[in-house]
């Protein structure tokens, strides 16, 4: 005679317990997706520089961003002032022609190459383009080499 499945109090409780654990496990991925979403904080990689840029000028800061632009004899270049060590915003000191990081004291030369401190890589250069109205548009998501110019 086949044993009949008995729904004792214990087995029902155990089933409920397993169900709760399984249901919580299922919420793991949705929770991670919910918590890591940044749909509510859209940040465009595009930065605009609307002032005029003189030839052979020193680094000029684009407002409300970490982007700096400069024009030398070869053309225009753009740099993101983010320390390559741990991401603090570096400041340009025009009198010393150096970039200084406030957090751990890294120093970069005027071209953005590291010369002192824990940073090992050069400050990132990014792509610049000129808009029809003459202002500059900088795409911070597109990195370029040290000698790239517009």
């Amino acid at each position: 005679m086949a044993r009949q499945l008995e729904w004792t109090r214990r087995s029902v409780l155990r089933l409920a317990w397993v169900g709760i654990v399984a249901a919580s496990a299922l919420t793991f991925k949705p929770l991670i997706q919910y918590l890591t979403s940044d749909e509510d904080q859209l940040r465009s990689p595009l930065v605009f520089y609307e002032k005029s840029l003189a030839e052979n000028s020193d680094w000029q800061k684009a407002s409300n961003s970490r982007v700096w632009v400069r024009q030398d004899t070869l053309g225009i270049m753009a740099m993101v002032a983010t320390c390559t060590h741990l991401g603090c915003e570096v400041n340009y000191h025009p009198e010393k022609k150096e970039w200084l990081c406030p957090c751990h004291g890294s120093i970069y030369d005027s071209e953005g190459r590291p010369i002192y401190g824990p940073a090992l890589k050069a400050l990132p250069r990014v792509a610049v383009n000129r808009q029809p109205n003459g202002s500059l548009i900088i795409n911070t998501s597109k990195q370029v080499g040290l000698d790239a110019r517009l």
């Binding site: 741990l86 406030p102 751990h104 824990p118």
Partner: protein, 121 residues
């Protein structure tokens, strides 16, 4: 072993509580904690970590980030957390030695940080 009602302990705790609140309020009246620099102001040239994270700051200054900020703190925490088991397997002397080493390392880094900051100012 001689023992006393919990009431005795409560009295001492009451005294300690009052002392703590007085000291805390006195500090709050006397010393205004810094608020730092506004983000509308020009960028600061030197950002100081709060003293509690001074040891971290020193580690980051001289070690690559993945060692200074991940491996070393994980080792310190593992050494602390594993203390009872370390003593079980290696003996009390080792346990004491490792704890003393870890704790004095952190204190040493903290003092180092404070000296650097004092020198900077």
């Amino acid at each position: 072993m001689a023992r006393s009602p919990i009431q005795k302990l409560k009295e001492k705790e009451g005294i300690a509580t009052l002392l703590f609140l007085v000291v805390c309020t006195a500090l709050a009246i006397k010393f205004q904690p810094a608020v730092g620099t506004s983000n509308q102001a020009p960028a600061v040239t030197h950002a100081v970590a709060p003293w509690i994270f001074g040891p971290f700051q020193i580690l980051l200054l001289y070690l690559p980030p993945w060692i200074g900020a991940l491996i070393v703190p994980i080792l310190i925490v593992a050494g602390l957390a594993g203390l009872p088991w370390i003593e079980n397997y290696l003996g009390i002397k080792w346990g004491r030695g490792i704890f003393t080493f870890l704790f004095s390392l952190v204190v040493f880094l903290l003092l180092w940080f404070m000296v650097i900051e004092a020198w900077w100012n």
